[in-house]
Symmetry: D2
Amino acid sequence: MAQTLSPTPLTTDPFDDDKLREECGIFGVTGVADAANFVALGLHALQHRGQEAGGIVTYDPEQGFNSARRFGLVRDNFTNQSIMDTLPGALGIGHVRYSTTGSKGNTQIRDVQPFFGEFSMGGAAIAHNGNITNADSLRRELIERGSIFQSSSDSECIIHLMARSLQTSIPERMKDALRRVEGAFSVIAMTRTKLIGVRDPLGVRPLVLGRLGEDGWALASETCALDIIGAQFVREVEPGEMVVIEHDKVASHRPFEAKRPRFCIFEHVYFSRPDSTLGGRSVYETRSAIGRELAIEAPVEADLVCPVPDSGTPAAIGYSLESGIPYAMGIIRNQYMGRTFIEPTEHIRNMGVRLKLNVNRALIRGKRVILVDDSVVRGTTSRKIKEMILDAGAAEVHFRIASPPTAWPCFYGVDTPQREKLLAATMSEEEMREHLGVDSLRFISLDGLYRAVGEAKGRDADSPQYCDACFSGEYPVAPKDQIDKGFTLKAAE
Amino acid sequence: MAQTLSPTPLTTDPFDDDKLREECGIFGVTGVADAANFVALGLHALQHRGQEAGGIVTYDPEQGFNSARRFGLVRDNFTNQSIMDTLPGALGIGHVRYSTTGSKGNTQIRDVQPFFGEFSMGGAAIAHNGNITNADSLRRELIERGSIFQSSSDSECIIHLMARSLQTSIPERMKDALRRVEGAFSVIAMTRTKLIGVRDPLGVRPLVLGRLGEDGWALASETCALDIIGAQFVREVEPGEMVVIEHDKVASHRPFEAKRPRFCIFEHVYFSRPDSTLGGRSVYETRSAIGRELAIEAPVEADLVCPVPDSGTPAAIGYSLESGIPYAMGIIRNQYMGRTFIEPTEHIRNMGVRLKLNVNRALIRGKRVILVDDSVVRGTTSRKIKEMILDAGAAEVHFRIASPPTAWPCFYGVDTPQREKLLAATMSEEEMREHLGVDSLRFISLDGLYRAVGEAKGRDADSPQYCDACFSGEYPVAPKDQIDKGFTLKAAE
Amino acid sequence: MAQTLSPTPLTTDPFDDDKLREECGIFGVTGVADAANFVALGLHALQHRGQEAGGIVTYDPEQGFNSARRFGLVRDNFTNQSIMDTLPGALGIGHVRYSTTGSKGNTQIRDVQPFFGEFSMGGAAIAHNGNITNADSLRRELIERGSIFQSSSDSECIIHLMARSLQTSIPERMKDALRRVEGAFSVIAMTRTKLIGVRDPLGVRPLVLGRLGEDGWALASETCALDIIGAQFVREVEPGEMVVIEHDKVASHRPFEAKRPRFCIFEHVYFSRPDSTLGGRSVYETRSAIGRELAIEAPVEADLVCPVPDSGTPAAIGYSLESGIPYAMGIIRNQYMGRTFIEPTEHIRNMGVRLKLNVNRALIRGKRVILVDDSVVRGTTSRKIKEMILDAGAAEVHFRIASPPTAWPCFYGVDTPQREKLLAATMSEEEMREHLGVDSLRFISLDGLYRAVGEAKGRDADSPQYCDACFSGEYPVAPKDQIDKGFTLKAAE
Amino acid sequence: MAQTLSPTPLTTDPFDDDKLREECGIFGVTGVADAANFVALGLHALQHRGQEAGGIVTYDPEQGFNSARRFGLVRDNFTNQSIMDTLPGALGIGHVRYSTTGSKGNTQIRDVQPFFGEFSMGGAAIAHNGNITNADSLRRELIERGSIFQSSSDSECIIHLMARSLQTSIPERMKDALRRVEGAFSVIAMTRTKLIGVRDPLGVRPLVLGRLGEDGWALASETCALDIIGAQFVREVEPGEMVVIEHDKVASHRPFEAKRPRFCIFEHVYFSRPDSTLGGRSVYETRSAIGRELAIEAPVEADLVCPVPDSGTPAAIGYSLESGIPYAMGIIRNQYMGRTFIEPTEHIRNMGVRLKLNVNRALIRGKRVILVDDSVVRGTTSRKIKEMILDAGAAEVHFRIASPPTAWPCFYGVDTPQREKLLAATMSEEEMREHLGVDSLRFISLDGLYRAVGEAKGRDADSPQYCDACFSGEYPVAPKDQIDKGFTLKAAE
């Protein structure tokens, strides 16, 4: 049931279609005078994880639970005094979203988290980053039992499971619910008095804990959201851990059976912000290390190393440092990009690209150029960029990609095209090179990537240290709903 | 939990506070190419029954269920092509609302009907006019069982009761649900193929059935909504009846134990539009008959009979016809009234009244004036009007009220002040006359009102033909939730 | 040059197209703490004179001149605190507009008055009700001399003429400018210290003066705008008079050669609000008197006298009083009319009419009905109403029109169709009766109308007391621009 | 006179206050089917030159001149089909603006260019980049003569001067007008058939000519606006030149007395986009050369060269290349910055900075960091950045500035603070270093800057090749209005 209440979401420009997209960022804070303003800032810092919509729920003993959910950027909604005034209280959580797998772009405002449920022992709100791989069967079961779903979001299953739990406290009901859920999830929840954070047993999606002044605590998808509010990074919530924060105390629970963690390696490659830290290390440095590794694995003689802005920048700097080939901004990004312009009727080739990117023609002319990008998904952008660079008179174009070929879709909270749309799913590296029409094309190896993220010995093939399903096709949790819909696992091919 | 998504509802002007307010209008249509446009027109004709917000749900085999819910008037929302385009299908229902008892004016868009639920046998939407007198205990019970409420509306109970029914078809689940519900209700519902209408066993709120061309059927709160779309009035849905319309056939069910009907007599006095028919008779004529009866019961020598516009007009015409005293427009209503103006800092007495009403000074000067109004609730408006008339130089002011004293709140879907705010709850007729400061004040008698609506012998005190609780304090259904909150019945006073 | 800044103006409904439309209402106030709030109320009371757009200019010694101009109703714009806060000061004027002759419905915000000009001796703002009949040649002349017009409005000529005057004070410049202007005008203007009102020598359009408390003065198109702010009516500004109000003193000037006044008789028939007074008499009473006169001139046997709401109401009451035939509301007007609905695809005859009006079927059936309307312009509405009444089963339909046949366009500030679209320009009364398909059709005579407005001897054919060009084709000021464009005067036919 | 029609302009964030701001970008195109779409793209590419508002005027033989002017970004307004549909025609010009000197931030929509005037020989629209230094006296003179100004913009003088010219063609009137104007200006104008470009005799502001397909021509502030629409760069319009483009022919006129050009050197430093070319050279390369020159002039031992993003990036890359010190992104810019957030009540130091920038803490810790910025205006940003870097644990902080000290305001179309707010106006370099609290601070020398922009022998002190008044205090055109208001020239200090 589609509602028409919502303003049209931002048109995504063609470039953005050619990236994998993290689907959510989550944030929560307790023990401050005005939680909503902190949550707004935290979500703003996490905006790269979801630009379509955002929501905030707060609790105040006098005003009860309040929420505001909006399409559009955090800065355009949660800077508005009249909105923020409706969100009083010392405890709050928030969510930014991109879109859910299969939502076909027509998200409704009722699909925007956090979700709220009133139970006999009081209300609770939850914000979920990840994807539930058995959501379809859970939803069928819940409907059979008389639950009424309000959204098309898989995450709503969690709140209905909690509503039906036989447990008598909300944290216990939440454990009950999450034990029925399969897939990848980091969840931030709140009751009238508690701020709760949980990661799935594999710890696929990130979640960190921070201290804010003397009385406050914060939970966030990334450390950059702690930085923006001046919170101190304390530690990552551990895979399989539930932290329950109340009255300035943090209690740690282990509701799930222990497993070897499989953190998403693509957070290092692209999703996380370069100024966040993962595993104690700056994401910027890791990406620079990927560039260095790539320069060692795939050297080439050239005059310039240029990033595909902005995501290729740290790897390009690393490649330049390792190779000694000068770093330069061969491609300039228009910082005002946004909604799609009406294309003039006289057709202009590559208009889409020019709107967002422009080549530094005087710089590129006659040069052998190494272009460093973070990943190749459909390959559409790479082709356009190659043409721009050649049009500008480059002598040679060499692509270096800071991740292995993306050959498998992600089912753990990342928006990926269907498998047949992934260039690497249907072509070899040489076929891709020919398809893109470049002088050379090289991806970092999977082992090289593991080394760059700090695994000196590379990937442990028997028991990989990360979730790298998008590269390897090895899914740590069976994508049950997808298999029901006909998805073929690698083993079955 | 308050959401901030909604634009601020229209400020009600001070006059409107001094009326009882019907809380809802409902409409449904099937068997037409574009149900939504018909529903929009039907709701527009019912706008007087609820001006705060409106919603439409339609079903189309390809597009499924779609809904749009908006604050504001039907004409301001459902005339927009881009909204109407989202509502395809041959089957649709809609709802306009004023506000629910106890909502304290901060309605959220999620409180706006129709409500929708997805069951294992398919979806259903319902629109409810009335009030459930045991809603609080039903809600508590449903939450205990794991239902998650999305709104603060009592009507949502019905859809949750349906979700939990053991029956296997939606009409049967609806019967199950409505048998648990106490109070007054007319409901229009829809499934993927059926349009359903139900009235409670007493038939307190109205509901009529119409024929639209050869294949179409319509259900509506009043006949004026059939007129606007050119539908033929067929009959009233009977008290306690459920009609199920499918494939151009109307099936009639009787899910409830039979009772003597008690239709709301205030629909005749004020709620229904004067061009609707009730019981085969024009509401305009009934009101004119009330005026005639009033002229017989409470004659007075005077120069002019003037209505308090617009609701007092038909009774004033009747009074004039019976008494022979000329009818005149002594008070002119500004047809552009709406949001509240900022009052100039130099205080002007009665500004509120002048904004909406102005006296025809030249006409009134020196005259003995009979003012005919439909009802007196708080009495605030009556006092202001009396002052305006005296300021204009009237020699005498006589109030004649086309209903008995309103001394009791309504709990069946009408917005009434608390009992102590009702002028007639605390004063005798003479005390009211003194309070208003008029030369005479007379209300029609309860028997007179019954005669005017067609009961030649007046009210049957043992078994009244109508619900007249607002006048008599005799509630045909015990207001259970209200009693729990401390309301004292007449018998217990 | 069309600007796209403006929201789409309200769609006019089909009925309104069949009325002559007053094009403007004007209001000004001085000597109050917060002029803007008073102006907003005054314009609200004058909303019937122009619903398309409105503007307010105020002057404050510290903040200078400020203005706000908006499309839409006064109540929707000038009730907004954030707008009103931008309009400080004790002196202010305002304007509501319908549309200017020839604007073709695409009014721009820069066409919305008041207009403002900065001169070497300070700024001035003007608001104009009327039409300049030599505007085209004035505009050409001014452009030749180097003036740059910002709007398509004829009224802008006045401010450019003022800018070029050799006089050294603003009132003198205004006299200079208005002596060059031909046509009909009532103007309210303001400088930093003065509030100014002027009427053209014939006094075609109305303008009244009121006293507000001890220090304040107000100027307004009609007395109803004095009533709303509690101001006392002092007198009408006289034809050919300029009043200059400063420091609580009113000075009267006579800048023009004296002429016999020719006030617009249609203000009595339709334009003015029934609660305004004109020439010391309530407009309501005058209209009631027209109805009485009509009953004498054109009696008919019938069962009911029904007004075409709302403008036919006072004349219908008068007709009923004189004839003794009972008055009744046979047609009910939907008070929520507004933007145009999307018509359902299954065509329904007369949908346009049903949206705004509905027949009281039960009342009308089998009756001989007299319908009283204020005027017949194109006749489209009259035909539809006749059909509605016959569909409802009326035995006979008799139209009685409270004005003579409208056979000529107005060029003095009223929006009229081209002559060939006026039903009375091409048909005799009997042809019109046949065209409308009614049992009888009668217009009041021109003499009868003059009698009803108080001229006991009727119209002075040699020197008519009113401007009645729309009925008689006798234009008191030659419509110069129109003649240049090919309009043929009666004398030349 | 302030109008309230306009939405609130975007709040500028604190960082932007600490930059000089180019005030306008202009663009025009002719000989294409749909000029407006091209103009929208061109303005989008020039958005960095003015973010507050934008306007487009087009001409179509059937529809005449049309315009749309809006607050906000080009992408948010001129991507809207319903707006673009109102702008038909093959000829169009556009303007983006920041704010005019002295406008105090309350720009009105009527201040937004292009300006339009209707003359006896037809209409013309103009878009102006620059500032008229004798605007106050021109405005006084024009008002004396009877011109009515509609805006507070100096640029409106040009259109009034044109209206009063005795010449008979628009280009000749424009020459007449511009000969009365002093200061810096690049102007793009249009008539019904001509596209016109003019630069002042010194050529202070840029203007370039491009070819679009076979029949089209474009004029733009910068070459990046040609790139975006696929136009070929032809040449710069020369200082003192007027180009008149009609029927695919470009005629060149020289209306002014010849002078030695003085192009704005700050266009190289900051205003122009790095992918534009100026004088045949990429702006990126020039900025990189400034960085190299700075590394030679002001070397320092350090571990990292970091840009202050984004404007310091090319100079930082140049500094790194020349010095051999590794380049790194020590500061990350949040790409979603926009409106100002509500600061949490618990005060957090440097919140403003953290919203836009975040330090790569893990990278910076313990390092000696060279920060390269383009300029220091008030110094407020530099202090905050220094604190962020030290908080992150940097061992040393060295500032290197890619321009000389900014000690004088610009009066030629750039928004600069008053002189006393410029850090370099009141402090020596050492005092600034101390004020900023950094280990070292060095600006490039004026000669070094001239060398970097291609003047091998540096600045010609007798007759400087560029306008460098912001550094040198030597104003090539006397700022007449400013001197009248009390500004003291360097010679007079």
